[in-house]
C-alpha cells in the first residue's frame, strides 16, 4: 500500500483502487474504485477507471479489502474538560481514528458539564485544533445534569449541540422528561435517555444468582424496562423524539419493538459488550467488566444480538468510557463503570457477521448511516459530493484485542486477549488519511 502524504494538497485527487465498495445506505456491495477530490468523494463505481487511473492521481491499492463510510459513533466520553488524565480530545481522536471512527458524538458529563453555549464551542474548537476525526457534542438536558432545570435547548442547538442527554444519568423526574420531550420539539431535537430507574439501580451488577454469590447488590432488569415504558408513554403524550441509549435487556427491547410498531418516533442503540458478554464476565469481581447498565443474563445478551439483527436496535455505539487504573482497582462496588471501546468497536461488532446472525451491509448500517440519521449528522454514506470520510478494513483478518496497544489514554477493557476477526487498515477524514495500520 502506497502511503499518502499527511498534508493533503488542495484538490489532491486520490483513487482507491482494487476495493470492495460497501455503502449500507444504498446497499452497494461491489468491487470497484472510489475517487476523492480534496475533501469530498468525487466518483465511485465498478467501472471507474476501468481503462486505468489517470496520471498525477495518487493511487491507494485497497488489496481487495472493504472500503466503507467511516464509522459514526454516537456515544463516547472524551473526558475533556476535567479528566484529562483519563482521555483528551486528542487521545480520544487518535483512538477513534485507529478504530475506523470518523465521526463521534461526545457526552456532556465532563467537568464542567456541557450545559451552556461556551461548553459546546469549547469542544468544537478543540476538535478543530486537533483536526483528526469529526466531533460533535451533546448538551445536557438539565443544568449540571441535576435533573431539574432545562438547558437552553434552542441556543445550544444553534451553536451546534446535536442532541440532548444527561449522559450517565437518567432524566428521572417524569415531569422534567415530559417538558424536555415537549420543548425540544420546537427545535426538532432528540432527547437521549440513559434508561434506568435510579431508585432501582442501587447496585453494581445484574441482580441474580451471581450477585447473590458475590454478595453484591444487584440491579434488576426491571430498572431498565420501567424507565423505557414510562418514557414511551411520555413520547406518546408529547410527540417528542426519543432515543434510548445502550439498551441491555430483552424486556426493554420488546417494549421498543412494540413502540416502533405503534409508530412512535423512537430509536435506540446498544454497545458491543451487551451482545458480546453476559454477567459472568464480572465473576471474581472483575471491575473492568463493570458497566452501567450492568452486563445482563445470557438470555438478555442473546436478545440484544437478535435485536441488532432484526433492526429493533438502530445503532451500535462504542459507549467509550475511559478510566485510569485507580478508578478500577477498587472493591467492586466502589469502582467506576465503563469500558474503553473506540478501538474494539468494529472487530467486536463483526463477530455478529462471522456468527451469521447479520450481514456485513446491515451491520455497517448500524455503525454508519443509521446512527448518522438518528442525530441528523452528515456522513455515513458513499455519495458523490459527500465528505470523503472512509474506513478501509479487512473483515477476515484474525487477531486478538491487546488493550496495551490502544491509542486511548485508558486501557480499561475486559476484552484483553479476546480473539477477534477483522482489522481496520486505514481511516480517512475529509480525504486525509488520519490512520494507516501499515504506517
Amino acid at each position: 500500500m502506497k502511503p499518502v502524504s499527511a498534508a493533503l494538497k488542495a484538490h489532491e485527487q486520490v483513487a482507491y483502487v482494487n476495493a470492495r465498495l460497501l455503502d449500507p445506505a444504498t446497499g452497494l456491495d461491489t468491487p470497484g474504485v472510489l475517487m476523492t477530490d480534496g475533501a469530498v468523494i468525487a466518483d465511485l463505481g465498478p467501472q471507474l477507471f476501468a481503462d486505468g487511473v489517470p496520471e498525477k492521481m495518487t493511487v491507494v491499492d485497497c488489496g481487495g479489502h472493504c472500503l466503507a463510510p467511516g464509522l459514526v459513533d454516537i456515544r463516547v466520553q472524551l473526558r475533556e474538560p476535567g479528566d484529562e488524565h483519563k482521555e483528551t480530545i486528542e487521545s480520544g481522536s487518535r483512538a477513534a481514528a485507529a478504530g475506523g471512527v470518523t465521526t463521534m458524538v461526545s457526552l456532556p458529563n465532563t467537568d464542567p458539564v456541557i450545559d451552556d453555549v461556551a461548553g459546546v464551542e469549547f469542544i468544537a474548537r478543540r476538535a478543530r485544533e486537533v483536526k483528526l476525526v469529526k466531533i460533535y457534542s451533546y448538551a445536557s438536558v438539565t443544568r449540571r445534569v441535576e435533573g431539574t432545570q432545562l438547558t437552553e435547548v434552542g441556543l445550544l442547538s444553534e451553536y451546534g449541540a446535536v442532541a440532548f442527554t444527561d449522559g450517565l444519568k437518567a432524566v428521572a423526574d417524569a415531569n422534567v422528561m415530559r417538558r424536555a420531550l415537549s420543548y425540544a420539539r420546537a427545535f426538532d431535537q432528540v432527547i437521549v435517555q440513559h434508561p434506568e430507574e435510579p431508585a432501582l439501580a442501587h447496585g453494581s451488577m445484574n441482580a441474580g444468582e451471581l450477585a447473590t454469590r458475590l454478595g453484591l447488590r444487584g440491579i434488576p432488569a426491571a430498572a431498565e424496562v420501567i424507565m423505557i415504558e414510562r418514557d414511551l408513554r411520555l413520547v406518546e403524550l408529547t410527540g417528542g423524539r426519543y432515543h434510548a441509549a445502550h439498551v441491555s435487556t430483552a424486556a426493554a427491547l420488546e417494549r421498543i419493538r412494540e413502540g416502533k410498531a405503534r409508530g412512535l418516533k423512537i430509536t435506540c442503540d446498544t454497545a458491543p459488550h451487551y451482545f458480546t458478554l453476559n454477567e459472568n464476565a464480572v465473576g471474581d469481581y472483575r471491575t473492568f467488566a463493570k458497566v452501567s447498565p450492568p452486563l445482563r443474563s445470557e438470555a438478555d445478551r442473546q436478545a440484544v444480538a437478535d435485536a441488532v439483527t432484526d433492526g429493533t436496535i438502530d445503532a451500535i455505539a462504542s459507549d467509550h468510557s475511559p478510566h485510569d487504573q485507580d478508578s478500577k482497582r477498587l472493591p467492586f462496588d466502589l469502582a467506576d463503570c465503563g469500558i474503553v471501546g473506540l478501538e474494539s468497536l468494529l472487530p467486536l461488532s463483526l463477530e455478529l457477521v462471522h456468527k451469521g446472525s447479520t450481514t456485513l451491509l446491515d451491520l455497517l448500517a448500524s455503525l454508519t448511516c443509521r446512527p448518522a440519521g438518528i442525530l441528523g449528522l452528515p456522513g455515513g454514506c458513499l455519495e458523490e459530493g459527500a465528505a470523503a470520510d472512509l474506513v478501509l478494513f479487512d473483515p477476515e483478518r484474525p487477531g486478538r484485542i491487546v488493550p496495551e496497544t490502544f491509542r486511548s489514554k485508558s486501557k480499561n477493557s475486559p476484552f484483553d486477549d479476546h480473539p477477534i476477526q477483522g482489522k481496520v487498515l486505514r481511516t480517512v477524514v475529509d480525504g486525509r488519511t488520519i490512520f494507516d495500520a501499515d504506517a
Binding site: 441482580a207 441474580g208 444468582e209 453484591l216 444487584g218 467492586f332
Partner: protein
C-alpha cells in the same frame, strides 16, 4: 513434583489463602475441623501456648469495627506464639486518601506471614490478596463471605451432633446482607447438611435457591423438625430503605421465641454469630438457655478454628516456598 521434606509437609488444605468457603472440598474442610479439634483441647489446658508460629508475624487489618472476631484472631495468633499486631482502620478515612492497594503494599513491605482482613466491601479481601506475598484470611468482606465463622459453626455442630451429614439447618434472618449465611450455606451443604433459609422476602437475595437451599417466609414452617436453628443479626447498619417496617413486627414474625422453637426438634440447638440484638431476632431468655443455646460454645470454637487456620496457612506457605527452591 518431588516429595517435600518431612518438617514441611503439605497440609490437607492446598490453598495459599482462606478467602471463602465456596469451592472448598469436604476433605479440606474436614482437615481444618480435625485440626481445630486438637486446639480445643489445648485451649482447655492450663498452658495454652505452642511455639508453631514463633518468629512469624500476623497482622489483623480491620476496616470495620469488630471486637469479638478481632480478639479471637489475636488470641489465636498469640497462643501459637506469633507476633500479632492489630490495626483498626476507619474505612471512611481510607476512602479519601490511601487506596486499599496502597495499604496492602505498605503492609506487604513489612513482611507479614499472615494477614487477617475484614472489610465492609464485598470482594475487597480478594483484591488485597492479589497484591501481597503473604497468606490472607478473610475475616469478613461486605456481604460476601466470613469463612472462619462457618468453620467454627460447623465445628460446634460436629462436636454436639457427631457430624453434619443429614442434619437440617435453618438459617434465619437477614440473609440478604449476611456473609455468615453465605459462608455457612456453602460449607454446610458441602458437608451434607440440608439448609433452609427463613426471612421476609425483602431480606432474601435474588435466586438464593440456586445455592442449593430451600427458602421460607413462614418461620414456623421453616423451623419444623430442624436440628439446628441459626439466628442472624439484623444488620441495621447495612439497612438502606425499608426492608422491614418495624422491629416489633420483625420480632413477631421472624424473631426466635419458645413458641416458634417448639416446632423444631426437641433437642434442636440454637446458634448465633453475635453480637445479638436481644428482643429483635432472639428472645433474651432463649439466648441464655444453656440447654439449647450453644452461643458461648461458638465463641470458644472460634479461637480453636482460627488457630487451625493460622497454623495451616503458615505450613502451606512454608511448603510453597520450599517447593519453589531450586
Amino acid at each position: 513434583m518431588s516429595a517435600p521434606p518431612n518438617s514441611l509437609q503439605n497440609t490437607g488444605y492446598p490453598h495459599r489463602h482462606l478467602l471463602g468457603t465456596e469451592g472448598l472440598s469436604a476433605g479440606e474442610i474436614t482437615f481444618l475441623l480435625d485440626l481445630a479439634d486438637t486446639y480445643v483441647d489445648l485451649n482447655r489446658q492450663e498452658d495454652k501456648k505452642k511455639s508453631l508460629l514463633s518468629g512469624r508475624t500476623v497482622i489483623n487489618l480491620f476496616f470495620e469495627s469488630s471486637t469479638r472476631t478481632r480478639t479471637s484472631f489475636e488470641l489465636a495468633g498469640k497462643r501459637l506464639s506469633a507476633d500479632v499486631i492489630s490495626m483498626s482502620v476507619a474505612w471512611s478515612s481510607i476512602k479519601k486518601g490511601e487506596t486499599l492497594i496502597d495499604t496492602a503494599m505498605t503492609l506487604n513491605a513489612m513482611h507479614p506471614d499472615v494477614l487477617v482482613v475484614r472489610h465492609p466491601e464485598s470482594g475487597a479481601v480478594k483484591l488485597l490478596s492479589e497484591k501481597v506475598n503473604c497468606a490472607v484470611i478473610n475475616a469478613g468482606d461486605g456481604s460476601h463471605e466470613h469463612p472462619t465463622q462457618a468453620l467454627l459453626d460447623a465445628l460446634t455442630i460436629r462436636r454436639r451432633r457427631g457430624g453434619l451429614e443429614g442434619l437440617t439447618v435453618a438459617i434465619c434472618g437477614d440473609i440478604l446482607h449476611s456473609r455468615v449465611a453465605r459462608s455457612n450455606i456453602h460449607l454446610l451443604t458441602t458437608l451434607g447438611a440440608r439448609i433452609r433459609v427463613i426471612a421476609p422476602p425483602t431480606l432474601l437475595p435474588s435466586q438464593i435457591e440456586r445455592l442449593g437451599v430451600e427458602s421460607y417466609f413462614d418461620m414456623r414452617e421453616g423451623l419444623r423438625d430442624c436440628d439446628i436453628v441459626m439466628m442472624l443479626r439484623l444488620q441495621t447498619e447495612r439497612m438502606q430503605g425499608s426492608y422491614v417496617p418495624s422491629i416489633r413486627e420483625y420480632f413477631r414474625f421472624f424473631g426466635l421465641d419458645r413458641d416458634k422453637l417448639r416446632l423444631a426438634k426437641p433437642d434442636a440447638l440454637i446458634m448465633h454469630p453475635g453480637p445479638m440484638n436481644r428482643g429483635v431476632e432472639i428472645d433474651s431468655e432463649l439466648a441464655d438457655d444453656i440447654d439449647r443455646s450453644v452461643i458461648r460454645e461458638q465463641v470458644e470454637m472460634g479461637v480453636a478454628v482460627r488457630m487451625a487456620c493460622l497454623d495451616t496457612l503458615n505450613r502451606g506457605r512454608r511448603f510453597h516456598e520450599a517447593e519453589t527452591q531450586p
